[in-house]
């Protein structure tokens, strides 16, 4: 099985602090990868490094087997990588539909002059159609014309998801998609993600472990900026290093004792 995305030996330092240390990640086609770990483990930093928001100090980046330099953030879209943001990150002055249209622009034929002379109507219409489709996927059709400030938090997360989906990327990076959602909504999201898996390869950063368990094929556990365990969730969960990271050392020992019994 070939890797769609491969990150090798990634390190990121802030000042003197090592936020990520020699991290290797592989993402296969049509796979959902969970990225978990306690607070401050470096999950979001890893996402930010992949999406070019923080510069890596070392590390190799390869896409579909081809080595490439670390992408700049705005190049991600063209590489077929879409990402959602933790703080949702919608454009507050644009409607939900327009938000999604912005996401689709990487696919649109570009032309400042066409915009200037108002002849971009056709591609506008295309963008709009694509955006509507993406909104439909994310279950957000109903509020296409609403401003982000008029949306509930779960609804705005749907719009953010639609904005990522509209790119029709190869890889979808979802940053805490379940945070702030209620139980039912999390259920729906899990279903959606398993549908999306048919078309996309997905990496999810999430602290709701139950959710991660439900959706992921494999997980990576980070702590102190290092991968401390990886593999199928069930296996990882039994890993004493993971327990120690989450619960503290002695309780992990207790737990191990418990399973031993």
């Amino acid at each position: 099985m070939s890797e769609l995305l491969k990150v090798e030996g990634l390190s990121v330092t802030f000042g003197g602090l090592k936020a990520l240390n020699n991290v290797d990640i592989q993402l296969h086609k049509n796979e959902v990868l969970g990225l978990i770990g306690p607070n401050g483990a470096g999950k979001t930093t890893l996402f930010n490094a992949i999406s070019g928001l923080v510069p890596p100090s070392t590390g190799k980046f390869s896409l579909e087997g081809k080595n490439s330099p670390w992408p700049k953030t705005h190049q991600l879209a063209n590489l077929g990588i879409a990402r959602t943001l933790q703080g949702v990150g919608l454009f507050s002055g644009l409607t939900a539909l327009e938000n999604v249209m912005v996401g689709a622009e990487a696919h649109a034929s570009k032309g400042f002059l066409a915009d200037l002379f108002g002849t971009s109507g056709k591609s506008e219409a295309k963008l709009k159609a694509r955006a509507h489709k993406a909104l439909a996927w994310a279950g957000a059709t109903a509020f296409a014309d609403k401003l982000p400030s008029q949306l509930t938090y779960p609804d705005s997360k749907r719009v953010a998801l639609a904005r990522a989906l509209v790119l029709e990327p190869k890889i979808l990076l979802l940053d805490e998609p379940a945070a702030g959602l209620g139980h039912d909504e999390i259920e729906k999201l899990a279903n959606l993600i398993s549908q999306l898996k048919e078309f996309y390869s997905i990496i999810v950063v999430e602290h709701n472990v139950e959710f991660v368990n439900k959706i992921s094929d494999r997980v990576y556990v980070l702590n102190f900026g290092e991968v401390i365990s990886s593999g199928p969730f069930e296996k990882v969960r039994q890993d004493s290093a993971v327990m120690a990271a989450y619960l503290g050392t002695s309780i992990a020992a207790d737990a191990k004792l418990g399973t031993g019994n």
């Binding site: 507050s92 002055g93 401003l147 982000p148 400030s149």
Partner: protein, 301 residues
């Protein structure tokens, strides 16, 4: 007398005043997160008040004190009436991105109002402004020394103010509280410091510093509603050169500007002064965006 030395001294005396004005900008920027474009408008207003007092026969020193007090009061009023409500106002989502620019616009509105009021009260008339001490250059036998008692007075006053402010900010509890409120409002509040009161205080101190700059510069520039606009630009440039976050930087920036302008005027052409200021401003922002002594943090705004 040696041209270079006299240029240097003239530049230093003016630079000290620019430093004071720049310091006023820095104090409000650090304390309240606002670059106050109305600062020298406030100074213009209080200098007119002082000028009126002097013209009506009161002593210079009474006018001096009244100007400083009204400067700090004006600063406080601006904070309480305008800036605090603006800061407390929940920014609606559509204007969130303008949040950083709204105080700037507010300060411009204040400037417009102050200049209009100066027109209404004083017909915008151009006036001279006296010096408290003799401004005749010292004589040394037949020659003239390159400085006057007033030059010494200006440098002395600015030095004393700088020392007082340094003492205030580093050695007193209130000063510590103001710095804390500026650097990390949340930790400051958790330490029991009343952050909004500290902000008002920084407006007051900055207002007084600006007023003092106005009192000291107008003897050589005259007083009119617009003369001090120039000083604002110079002070802003000085603050950016030194680093908007750094009080010491403001002082150094002020001196650089003062001496630089004197040198350009003497050895270059006075027509190039503005272009030189513009050039300096661009150069600093491109090469060292946080200024000579600015912090490392990404600039706000």
């Amino acid at each position: 007398m040696n041209t270079f030395i006299s240029t240097l001294i003239t530049g230093t005396a003016n630079g000290a005043i620019f430093a004071l004005a720049a310091l006023g900008l820095v104090i409000v920027w650090r304390g309240a997160g606002v670059v106050n474009f109305a600062q020298m408008g406030q100074a213009m207003f209080t200098t007119y008040i002082a000028s009126n007092l002097i013209n009506s026969g009161e002593s210079y020193w009474l006018a001096f004190i009244v100007a400083l007090i009204s400067g700090s009061l004006l600063g406080m009023i601006i904070d309480l009436l305008i800036m605090r409500p603006l800061a407390h106002k929940k920014s609606s989502s559509s204007t969130k991105t303008l949040a950083a620019t709204i105080p700037v616009i507010a300060s411009l509105g204040i400037l417009a109002i102050l200049q209009a009021l100066a027109g209404i009260f004083w017909a915008g008339e151009e006036r001279g402004f006296p010096t408290p001490v003799n401004s005749f250059y010292f004589k040394n036998g037949a020659g003239t020394l390159p400085f006057s008692a007033f030059n010494l007075f200006v440098i002395g006053v600015v030095l004393i103010v700088l020392l007082l402010l340094t003492y205030f900010f580093t050695q007193t509890g209130v000063g510590l509280g103001m710095r804390a409120a500026a650097l990390n409002p949340e930790v400051a509040r958790l330490s029991g410091i009343k952050v909004s009161r500290m902000r008002t205080l920084s407006w007051a101190i900055s207002g007084a510093a600006g007023s003092l700059a106005g009192l000291l510069i107008t003897p050589s520039t005259n007083l009119s509603p617009n003369t001090l606009d120039l000083i604002l630009i110079i002070a802003f440039t000085a603050a950016v050169v030194g680093g908007l976050d750094s009080p010491l930087g403001a002082v150094i920036g002020g001196l650089i500007l003062g001496i630089g302008i004197a040198l350009v005027t003497t050895y270059g052409s006075p027509e190039n002064v503005f272009l030189a200021i513009l050039f300096l401003l661009f150069a600093v922002q491109l090469i060292k965006p946080n200024g000579i002594l600015g912090g490392k943090q990404v600039r706000r705004g």
